[in-house]
Structures are given as C-alpha cells and as structure tokens.
Subunit: 463 residues, 4 copies
Amino acid sequence: MKYMKGRVEDIKITYIGGGSRGWAWQLMSDLAKEEQLNGTVKLYDIDYEAARQNMMIGNGLKVREDVKSKWDYQAVATLDEALQDADFVIISILPGTFNEMASDVHAPEKYGIYQAVGDTVGPGGIVRGLRTVPMFIEIAKAIEANCPKAWVINYTNPMSLCVKTLYEAFPQIKAFGCCHEVFNTQELLAAALEDMEGIKDVTREEIKVNVLGINHFTWLDKASYKSIDLLPIYKAFVDKYYISGFEKEKAGHWMNDHFSSCNRVKFDLFKRYGLIAAAGDRHLAEFMQGNWYIENPAQVMEWKYSLTPVSWRKEDLKERLAKSERLVKGEEQFELVDTGEEGVRQIKAIVGLGDLVTNVNLPNKGQVANLPLGAVVETNAVFRRDEVVPVLAGSLPAGIASIAARHIANVQMTLEAAMEKDKEKAFLAFINDPLVSIGVEDASELLTEMLSNTASYLEGWEI
Amino acid sequence: MKYMKGRVEDIKITYIGGGSRGWAWQLMSDLAKEEQLNGTVKLYDIDYEAARQNMMIGNGLKVREDVKSKWDYQAVATLDEALQDADFVIISILPGTFNEMASDVHAPEKYGIYQAVGDTVGPGGIVRGLRTVPMFIEIAKAIEANCPKAWVINYTNPMSLCVKTLYEAFPQIKAFGCCHEVFNTQELLAAALEDMEGIKDVTREEIKVNVLGINHFTWLDKASYKSIDLLPIYKAFVDKYYISGFEKEKAGHWMNDHFSSCNRVKFDLFKRYGLIAAAGDRHLAEFMQGNWYIENPAQVMEWKYSLTPVSWRKEDLKERLAKSERLVKGEEQFELVDTGEEGVRQIKAIVGLGDLVTNVNLPNKGQVANLPLGAVVETNAVFRRDEVVPVLAGSLPAGIASIAARHIANVQMTLEAAMEKDKEKAFLAFINDPLVSIGVEDASELLTEMLSNTASYLEGWEI
Amino acid sequence: MKYMKGRVEDIKITYIGGGSRGWAWQLMSDLAKEEQLNGTVKLYDIDYEAARQNMMIGNGLKVREDVKSKWDYQAVATLDEALQDADFVIISILPGTFNEMASDVHAPEKYGIYQAVGDTVGPGGIVRGLRTVPMFIEIAKAIEANCPKAWVINYTNPMSLCVKTLYEAFPQIKAFGCCHEVFNTQELLAAALEDMEGIKDVTREEIKVNVLGINHFTWLDKASYKSIDLLPIYKAFVDKYYISGFEKEKAGHWMNDHFSSCNRVKFDLFKRYGLIAAAGDRHLAEFMQGNWYIENPAQVMEWKYSLTPVSWRKEDLKERLAKSERLVKGEEQFELVDTGEEGVRQIKAIVGLGDLVTNVNLPNKGQVANLPLGAVVETNAVFRRDEVVPVLAGSLPAGIASIAARHIANVQMTLEAAMEKDKEKAFLAFINDPLVSIGVEDASELLTEMLSNTASYLEGWEI
Amino acid sequence: MKYMKGRVEDIKITYIGGGSRGWAWQLMSDLAKEEQLNGTVKLYDIDYEAARQNMMIGNGLKVREDVKSKWDYQAVATLDEALQDADFVIISILPGTFNEMASDVHAPEKYGIYQAVGDTVGPGGIVRGLRTVPMFIEIAKAIEANCPKAWVINYTNPMSLCVKTLYEAFPQIKAFGCCHEVFNTQELLAAALEDMEGIKDVTREEIKVNVLGINHFTWLDKASYKSIDLLPIYKAFVDKYYISGFEKEKAGHWMNDHFSSCNRVKFDLFKRYGLIAAAGDRHLAEFMQGNWYIENPAQVMEWKYSLTPVSWRKEDLKERLAKSERLVKGEEQFELVDTGEEGVRQIKAIVGLGDLVTNVNLPNKGQVANLPLGAVVETNAVFRRDEVVPVLAGSLPAGIASIAARHIANVQMTLEAAMEKDKEKAFLAFINDPLVSIGVEDASELLTEMLSNTASYLEGWEI
C-alpha cells in the first residue's frame, strides 16, 4: 500500500468467493464510488469461470466516467496465488451448493421443523456449519502462509462459526465478521422516529446504538438520535404496531418478499425482554424455542414474515447468472448503487482514512461481559489504522444471555465435531438446538439423513 | 465452643425446620453416635408443636446407654432467639405445604408436563423457588443479625437457589449446601466394582471422585478406587446393563419405591456425554429436554424409574406423624441408624477434628471453570477448622455445560423475579425451562394457575 | 435538558472547586465558544467568595458579542444545593492548601527524596491522597443524594485514587477522570512528524493513538497519522534527539518553565520499553525507581526537566488572584482562548451532539487486559449520548505492567488506609512507593512528619 | 504400574539430577522405608559417574533387612532413555556449577547488593534463571516425546520459573513444584504452641494451614491445631520474641548454621502485614526492598540470620563427595533417616494409596484470586489418584500481593529473555528486582559481568 495526499493506492484485496453474483457486485459498486482508494482485486472462486466473468465486469468499469477509482480485477486460479501478499481478504462463499442447502432447510420439515433461512442455527445451520469448517480451516491456513498480516473480512454464514474457525486455525489472524442486520434495525428505528415524532430524513448512521449479542441474535440496549433516547419512542411504537406489524413503505412486502417482515417477532421480543432485537425476524425466530414463532407455516403467517424456500434461491440464481452474461457481453450496463454495506468504509478506516465506529463479530475478550470468553460475539468496535478494537458493550439480561449461550455452546460443539469428524458430538449440538425439540431417535435419524445429503463435503466421516 | 483433649463441647446448633420428622431425626441419630462433640441443639419450626415433640424425642436420648454424647435439645419459639450466638445453623425446611407441592408437581400434567420430583427445576421447581426466596432472605437477615459468623448448612431444595439467596441477602454468610445424591452414585460405582471386578466391601468413602456441576445435575469426570481407574470399569458396566438397567440388591425396587431406579437414565447420559451423572435418575430426567426421559408415564416406565406423586408424600407424612407420637409417648424406641449423611462429619471437620474432602454447593469462584462466576455449583471442597475451601474441579464438556448454564440462568431469573415480585420475569425463567416446551400462551396460563395455587406465599405479587 | 434543532439547552453543570482561577476560567472560555450548548453553571467552592468572583466573571461574558452561548453562572453556598438535579458535575479542587502541598513535595527532600510534582505518586502523592479521600467520599455521597444520574468529570489529582474513591462510595456513579497529558504527547508526535517527515500543520486530534496504562503513567502502543504508522518515525526521532532532547519552539523552555521538558525521560523509556510514554517527564520520573531520573536536582538537570517548587505555585496563585480582581472589576477583559481541553467536547458527545473517541480514566472492566479488574485505568473510550464506553485497549508489556500494578496496589492501600484511618496501612503504601527507597525507620519518621503537617485534614486519625 | 492388594509395583521413576549427593539420597531413604511401593529408579545426570555411584549406593540397600521395599536403581546415559515410559519424573538439578553460583551470589556484592541464597530472586536468582530456562525446555520437550503422561515433580530453583518453563514448553505436562519451606513454618507454629500453651509433641502435619503466595514468598492466612486457632497464639509469640528472636532447641544456630535463623524477619513481616510468612528468613529477606533486612552483613546480623557463602557450599560438596566414595566402597553404611520430605507421600497419593492435602507450586487458575492467571503460585492442593487439584486459597493483602506480582513479572520477563536470548529484556527484569536498587548504569555493568560469568550456559546470546 502507498499513502499519498489523502489517498491510499496499490491496495491488494483478495476476494474468496469472487465468482459471486451478489456480494462481489456490491463490492465493485462500492469501490467504484470511492475516490480515496485504488488497487487490485484478485477474484478467487472454485468456479473459476464465474470469477473470470466478474473480472471482465469489474475491469469494464475502468473506462466509465462515473467511476471514481480505477481498480484492476484479476481472476486467479489458486487460493495461494490469490492470497499472495494481500492487504485485505474478503470471504463470501456459499458452502456447498443450493442442493445441499435444500436439504439443510427442507429435510427437517417432515419432522415438523421449519426454518426461515437455515444458514445460522437450527438443523440447517449446524449441518451447513459442519461442511463449512474444513473450508475455513483451509482458508485460514492459506492466509497464515501467504498473507499473515492481512485483514480478513468474513461475510459467510454461519458467521459465528466461520469467524471462530478462522481464529482456531490461525490464532494470530486479524479477522472479523460483518453483517448488515443491525443496519436494517437502525433503519427501523429511523422509521419509528419519523412515525412517532415526525422527524424525517434521518439516516441509519445517525442512529447510534449499543450492540451486544451474537450474529443474527444481536440486541440493542441503547439507541439514540442526537440527544433523543429512542428506547421510550420504540416502546410506544411497538405498542402501536404490536398487532398489525410495521413495514416501511417501498420496502418489499412480507407476503411476497422473502426478506421482508412486519417486525412482529422483533416487537414481541421487545415486550418480553425489554431490549431491541437487531436482526431480521426470519433469523430471530430460528434462535428461539421452535413453538414461539416458527412452529409451522401458519404460525409464520401470523407473525407476518416468511420462510425462504431454497427453490426461490435457485430461481433467483438463474436470474443472476443471466444478468452476469448480459453484463459480460455488454448487453446490460453495470449499475452503481448505494449498497448500504460498510465493507469499503471499514477498509478506508483500517488504512487510516477516518475513524469508524460500527458493529462487528469478534472473539469475546470481555466486550460482552456475561457471554463466554473466546465465543464470537457482535458488538461495536472502533476502526482505525491497522486496528479494530471492540468496545466494552456490557451485559445481556439473563434470559437473553441464556439463549445466546446455548447457541454459543452449539457453535463450539459443531466446530469440535467438524474437526474431529465426530458424528456423536455433532448430535449433541444438533439435539441442543431449540428448533430440534423432536424425540431423540427422530433427531438421530434426521441428522443421519442430513449428513448423508451433504456427505460429499464431509471427507473422512463415518455417517 | 470449648476444645479439650480431642473433644469440642458447648457447640450451639440451630436447626431451622426443627420440627421435621425426617432430617431432624437423622441428625439426632448422627449426633448421638458421635463421641467427640457435645452441646445444644435449638429446634425452630413454624410448627412449634412439632419442634417441641422433637425436643422431647431428642432429650429422651440422653439417658440411653448406647448414646455416646449428651445433647441438650430446646424447642424455641422465634427465629431470632433460635439463632442467638449459634455456631452452626442447619436449614431443612419444606417451603409451603404438600398442598402447594401438589400444585407444583401435578398442575403441569394437564399440559402434558410430567415431573418426577418437582422441587429443583421444571415448572414445579421454579414456582417452589419463588415462594422459597422470601423465606431464605428472612433467614439470612436473621443470621446476619444474630450469628454472622455461624456456619450455615442448607439441605432445602431448590438447593442452588436457596444457597444463592443466602449469599444475595448476606454476602458475608458462611453457608454451603449439602446433598447426598453424589453419595448414592459412589455406591453405584462400588457396586459396579463388585459386579465387574469382584472387589467386595468397598465403602462409598473409598470411591474417590471429582465432582462438578450444579446440584442434582452433578457430574463425575474422574473416579477411582485405590489405584484403579473406575471410568473404564463403569463403561463396561454401562454396556452390560444399558438395556436391563441395574439395581442393587436389598435396595428398594423402582416399581414400588419412588426413590429407586434402574439407573438407565444415568447410563444413557454416560453413553452420550462420556461423564458419570451423579444424581438420581428422577432428578436427572428433569434437567434434560422433556422428551428425552420424561415425556409421559409410559416413557418413565421404559427408563425404569418412577414419578413421585405428592399423594404418596402426604401418606408418608401421616405415618411419620404417627411415629413421632409413638416416640414422644415412649411407645417406640428411637433407633440409632447409619444415616449415611455427612452433616456431623462436616461439623467435626469445621470445628477442627479432622480434615474432610467432600462435595458441597457454593458460589462459583472458579471451581468450575466454564460455568458463570457467582452461580452456585457443586464440587469437592476441603473442610478444615473454620474453612470450607472448594477445589479447582475443572471444566464440564460443552454439551453438559450448556444445559447447566440454562438452569443457572433460570435460578438467577427466579431469584430476581422473587425479589422484584415480577411475574413477567418469572415467566422468562419458566419458559426457558427444558420441561416447558409447550406454547407460549399455554405456558403463561399454566404459570398463572400455579402462582395462584401458591399465592399465600407470594405477598405483594400481582398474579 | 432540552434538545432542539441541533442545540441542547438548559444544561445544568455543577462545578465543585468553582472558585478556581485556572480550570474554571478554561471552562468558561470553552463554554463561551460553543454554539450548541446552553444552560446554568453552579459554582461551589469552600471559598465562597472565590466562587462569587467567578460568578461575576462568568456572567460578565453574557453581554459580549464574541460569545456564542449565554450561560448563567451562580455561586452556591452548599454542596447539596449545588448538586441539586445537576446533569454534569465537574470536580476540580485543590485538596488542602499550598501549605500542605509544600509539605507533600518538600518534606521528603531532607531524606534525599525529590519530587517534580508530588500530587500523584511518591510520598507527596500518597499523603495528598489520604486527605483527598474523605473529600471525595463526601462528594460521592452528595451526588448519590442529589443527582445520582449526573455525569461526573474529575480533574483532581491524584486522579486514579479520586476516581476509585467515587466508585467506592457510590458504585452506580457515572464518573470518569480527564487529563491532558496524552494530548501533549499527541502534539509531540505531530512535532516528530514535521521534524522527520516534513508534514506540517497536523493537529493533535489527527494523531490517532491507542492509550493504555494509569493516569500520568500512560502509554501508547499504536500511533498513526492517516495511513502513516508513527512508531518507526518516533523511533528515529528518539534516536536523533536522545542526547539533546527535543523541545518545541514557542513552547516554554524547560530551564525556566516548570511545566516544560526536553522529553529525554520519555525518550529513555521508549528505548527501554518500546512504547511511547504519554505523560510529561515530570510525572513519568516519579513513577520509576527514584535513582533513574529524579535522584537529586543535578540528575533532574541532566534529564532536562524541572522540579516544580511549591513556592512557585504560591507566587503564581498571587498573580492569578490579582488577575481575578482585575477581571471582576473590569480592569481586564476575560480572554477567550483555545484551551486544548476536551471537557466541553465530552459534554457535547454525552448530550448526543456527535461521537467522540478520547482517553479517560475509568475502573478497569477488561479494557487493560493485564492490569487488575477494578483498578482505575486510562484508555480510549467512545463517548455517545449518555454513554462513555471504554475500548478493549489490550495489554501492557510485563515490565511496564509490573510498575503500574505497584502503583495500583498503592492506590488501593491508600484508599483503605484513608477509610480506616489506619496509619500502619498507609505506611505499607508509602514504603511500597518506588521513590521511598530509604530505610524503614526513616520512612516511618518521614510519614509521621508528613501526616502531622496535614493533620487538620485527617480527622479521627492517630498519627 | 501394577496395583495389587494395597501395593503398587513396577513404578518407573526417573530422577533427573540423579547424581546428586543430597536430594537423591533422601529419596532413596524415603523409598526404602515405604512398604506399599516398588519399582525402578532411573538415575540420569550430566555427570554420569555420579549417577553410577548413586546406582551402586541405591542397589546396595536391597539386601538390607531394615529396608521395606526393593527398588532397582539404574544409571542411564541419555535423557531420552531415562524418560522412556516413566510414571514419575523428579527434577532436582544444579543449573551450572558452584562457580556460576559464586558469581550469582557474590558478584553483586561490590555494588553493595547482598544475597542470602541467590537462587530464587535478586540478581543471582535472575541470572541463574536465565541459564536454567534452556535446560528445562529441553527436559520438557523430552518428557513430551518419551512420557507425556508422567507426573513431574520439580525441586530445582528458581522454582516458579522452572515450573513456568515446563508448562511453556509443553502445556499438557502434569508438573508441579515442591518445597519444604512451608513445613519448617509449620514446625515453628508447633514450637509456638508448645512455648505459649504448653501443648507438646504436635507434629507439623497436625498444623493445618492455608497457603498462598509464590515459592519462597509464601504466606499463611489461617493456621490451626485441632480446634485451636493459631493466629492469636502466633501473635503473642511474635510479641514475646520480636527482639530476641526464637530458635528451636537442637536445631542449628543461626550464627554457625547457614540454614538457621531466629525468625526475626518472619516476625517483623507478621507485625507489618498480619500474615505468617512461610519461608526461611534467608529467602524472605531477598524478596523485600533491599534495605529492609539485607542491606549489608551487619544488618543481616541484627536480624539474626546468615548469608550463605558459596565457598561453604563448595566445602560442603567436598564432604559429600567423600561420603559418596565411602558409601560406594562400603566404608560407611547408608543411613535411613526421617527426611521430612513429602515426595514419596505425594507419589503414593498419586498412585491412589491415600489422599493428601499439601502445598505445591502450580500455574494459577484462580487458586490465588489476586495474582495473575498463569503465574506459578504456591497453595494447597488435593492429591488423589492421577490428580493434583489446587484449592481456592483466596487473596493476599494488597501490600503482599504487590510485591509478589513484581516478582511474578520478573519471572515472566526472565523466561521471555531466556527464550529470546534478549539481554535488554533480561535487564528489565534485573532492574525491576527489589534488591537491585542501584543506578541504571551500575546495574547494566553488573548484569553484563554476571552474564559473562555464566556465558557458557547462554548459547547464542550477545552479551
């Protein structure tokens, strides 16, 4: 890297999962709009052709007038080559294919277990985790070998397990995990502020929050806009919309958009625990006892959110593949959008171009006082040159901490099971998940089936 | 107290719950057989007449030739008077009556929730806890006022909550909790040693164990007899008796004795977690997810233990009341038995007559490395003059620790709910219990019913 | 407080020590220049007349055109009245008079113990601490009674002990301690950047540092300007100026300015420990073994800093008293200056007008990983609406941590000695101070003399 | 090992430093008197001939009628061979020769620094430590390779550093350190009991103590004999003998026995800190600021203990060498003595033949609450089959903890310096030692001289 007059040039970014038709394009967009950075992005993907297409799309931006920084995109064939001397490593992969994900999400349904996402906790999250661990061990070891001082940003789920695995395999790694769920909750708070107080045009960055918890089960115990305490406002807002739910205009609608919801789960959790749950209802529902919010599709309807079928993801991917073709061929112009993601802002802060306080996932060194040390937790951190330093975010109420600790134990057991290729230990995590409230024998059968479905990623296991 | 030539005289013991027809008689028996101690036992009970009867029974022992130490028993009318200058305080009370206990145990059955004991965890344990907390706060405050340096031994359930409450109300208290469940497991290990290796006449004290966990969900990760590691022997023993179960001869039989079992729950837990669960199956079953061992009476039969109906306790009490009458009137002679309890041995060690290493319940200062600090945990401790010092017992496996932590959180929330008279907080504990896997609304109805049934002990609550 | 359109009005600030002719004027200046705040400052001082003079000076500002916010100053006769409903409490007092301070600083000289400041550690710091503790207990209790939710900013030395005492007396207090020594070090780093790299006009706020340690013995293990790592630059700078020392132009000169130095102590500490010491040389010298930097005046000259005689402070006070007279009488106009202090910026952040990351003194909850929990430590913290949240600053090297821990133990013992009025315990702190390397009997004599000199502030002691 | 009928046979003990003419003979004596153990002792020494002589002496015992167990002694030429499949490893070596020790102890004298032992702390202890670390790394690595499950008992000084190094090099090692200084203090307490209360014939094992601190700076905050609290008795005893000192009859006399003392240092520390220091005055004096007890030989005389000159050790060794010759040639019979050491009793407890509670040195996992985790501390532990479990011994008073923490930091820095061969870091430990109160330049010269004197053991260093 070279610093000169407020700009940093020659930054080397490696993107693992660089063939992605989602996150990778967002990064391209964010980089294109950033004046103060410049450098190379190496795209690595097990689907090399996908990476190559993205290289073409990315390099196509250089000539455009509306693009403020000229980045060089390179598709790279091997992980080691991709990581050589990287300054930043971004990890955003799909562990397995949508076929494995279909099993993760839908196989449990015949036992009456429903999942809205199935990528974090629940039977799906755990099995996905088991196949993800070896991939992340490989990545961590390659980072240790090729770029031990690089900053590593993970976007892959299950977030807590992915970050935990990176530190397990290479304890000196400078890795953290990022997720936009808290941002959406900040936007909900801005909407509440408008709805209840008539204060308009507040951006989500202006909503200051204290974040504590674990990814997708993250909580806010303080929230402010300027001098205004948002907790009492949110309380009144929840009372107003508890039954009907609340959905922002122009956002998708929960009945036809798998990522939308009416926030009723969030409102119910607030009434019970007194803190603002800061993740989408789809995620939150999966962390609680199964019969609270996700016992069956009818109950999901009642709570006004939706289960995302993997078939939809498959269809969506087809569309994105087609779009990729069009972009490569020049039949469609790449659109520079406001992604709302913070990756590029974080990179700027880490290279020294301005402080940033935002939420990240990191091993607990005390930032959440009543969750186990070493567990990956989500809190605010201060980003500065070559530093990401978490703040002491405080404690969760006992009721929430207990549920978070249960999932943290499952992350630990899943990691151990994956490293030891131990089905018995995997089962202890599986059966300890709140969604798996079925009998022990049924649970055992289900796990066996799910492991079989993902067996090609479980080398060396006896299933 | 006075020490002279290997004897300690003038010990002042206060027995809260001193009208009991069970534990109190055991103490009398143990004291009567102990040569090196002597003094006064003040019997306090909210049923003064019961205490008075026990006074008469106790004082009747003085004239007997087979009694080795002459203790003076006094029934005392007020708590303050009873505690004045005590050296030791024993707390063994029934919080409420068997009518409240009948609600604790049986009210949940109409929602399909069964409990074997209902005094520790589960809906019954939590509601019992709510009415116990104010009693223990009163006791702790009275100890602070009257005998702040006394050693306090608690036998009352729910153990963890009772001990936690004592320390909450009077942080300098020298209290610990005792329970004989680990002793029974030592006896099971001795039986296994005989069955598998033909080594006979081993006493439970000769079985050395490392104890860690929480009361009634206590675990052994090490067990030895002299130079012999008992873990592999127990493993083979479990394999041999996994299906049939194992019950010692001459012990009661699980089909007609509510306190007996075939240890099948214990064996199953060993196969799953690799550690020896050290409590009765009736207790262990209540700590796990409800559908493992206690989904319904048929499943209980399958696991070869039994649910204790409170009607049986009521009958049993009638018999004990009759026996008490006979003892008072001299129609029956008080029998000096081997109780197997350790209270008197602990008292001896604390007054300086010999070291003792045994298991107790104490706030966690690190003795269990991966359970929360401050939670009441059960481990070994060294007993010496004016000292009860826990050992560093190590860590539980993640799967067990996660379940223990869940119950620890419930103890914390139950305590807070009782102190704040907060039904909403009580519900958070209630719904977090593994046995309460019913829907949120049903759970809420059930809690309301159970609180109503125990309302006379919940002064100041809005139910 | 009232928030409206980016301004916060009706803030109630209480200034304890409000008769001060130094810090109080700086606050007036900073408030006068701040557009977004407005309210009342209650000035409380044991010298009521001094507070009244400052009231007149402060209120005189209201009419000036160059003043951006109109504050109402009130001199208040009692502490309780002053604190009633305060939003912010500023504590900046002189504990005792310069006569006591003269004893603190100069009495040890006849035993060969020299002190540059004598207000933090060393025999002077400890004895000053003993008389300060009861004052801070009184203040904390009054805050608890009158304004328990107020934010409390302490400027008084000994800083660590003062903040520790506040939390000891009222554990829920929202207090922190502020000190500008780190700011001076940031300015030194800016000077090094100009000297070594030719980069000019960098403000101290642009120098980003990771702060860890205890007040006046604070250290930086990271320092950056934009993308530039300042550690290697500082290393070269230290090598260049190690012998000569370095003093910024236009700053005072160490030979005639008691607050200036050539930073040679700082440079020597950097060479030995590899971290940047972030306090004035006068303070740093007092924390180390006495024969390193402060064995006698000649050695002090060699290290190119100076000992501040209390006689100078007395003279200086006279000048400030005269200036106060002139200001009150209108013979001199109050000058609005750039104070470089952060108090008002912190207040702005705490009322919600913009985030701030800066260094403060707070009880350790893990922000310095290898200093004792509960000790008052200095690190960065994030200031937001109603929040001051420390960051996890990391660990000190063992050599520095050992010296810091020694002073932390002394703070603890001084606090206990003051609360228990226990001369023996005070002596254990005294003799444990690195400057008190004299024999035990001499030390005992010296302590007795110093306590006698300050006896009017040690009510209830046997000296 | 084989267990049969209360005996354990075929125990394999490896003795590193097996050529010793002190500790090795004590072990032989203790083993010879022990009926329940049997096996092989492999003697390894860098002086093979010395080991061979001890082999002959040891094997000579087999034929004697007064010997209760027949042990096979083997001199072994290599460390790996010696450790192969060991059950127990005893480490008792002299790191370097008495020539190096002469430098450790006496080189500092020309700077006015006196040392009584010079093997634990002080300039001598630190330099001895620097040459010991590589030896213990080698030993730990060999244990990991040859007998990773062996129990390792260290007797070598500096104890804390030796044990720390073993765990640093092989974290899973089952090592602990033993020292008899606490035993001597128990005997002093028995003597006090006789002197003050007329209670005779109390053995040191009957004196129950709570031990906490670091080796040679160990403290007792509780001490009992049966029901008797020894603290008030010791207080009166200290008052009685504070000036004169106290020396047991028939023990050596401090004026002509380098290991004896009048306990005046111990008494003075008790008066200052309120706890019983549990190590010899010679050791204790070295831990405190140099001018307290060991400023010069005259002050040492005043405190009635003595400095041990290394010349005496050299003479003593000559005598022991001559004795060894006589024993080998059969000119003198090996005497079976009461050594008072606990090694064999510890081994018995670890193989399962009876519980033992005694003091050991182990890494801190919370057993001393206010010393750093990971530091090697000395407390009681429970010894059982394959277990050495420390008790939670509590906290030291702040004054003592501060001094202990200073030496703990020095152990840490010495370890790091030795591993990194870093003279600058070694100097940071050196100058932080309370005995090194000389100027920085003198200290630097002294360290250089001392390192040069021990240079043959500091391979790879630049001195």
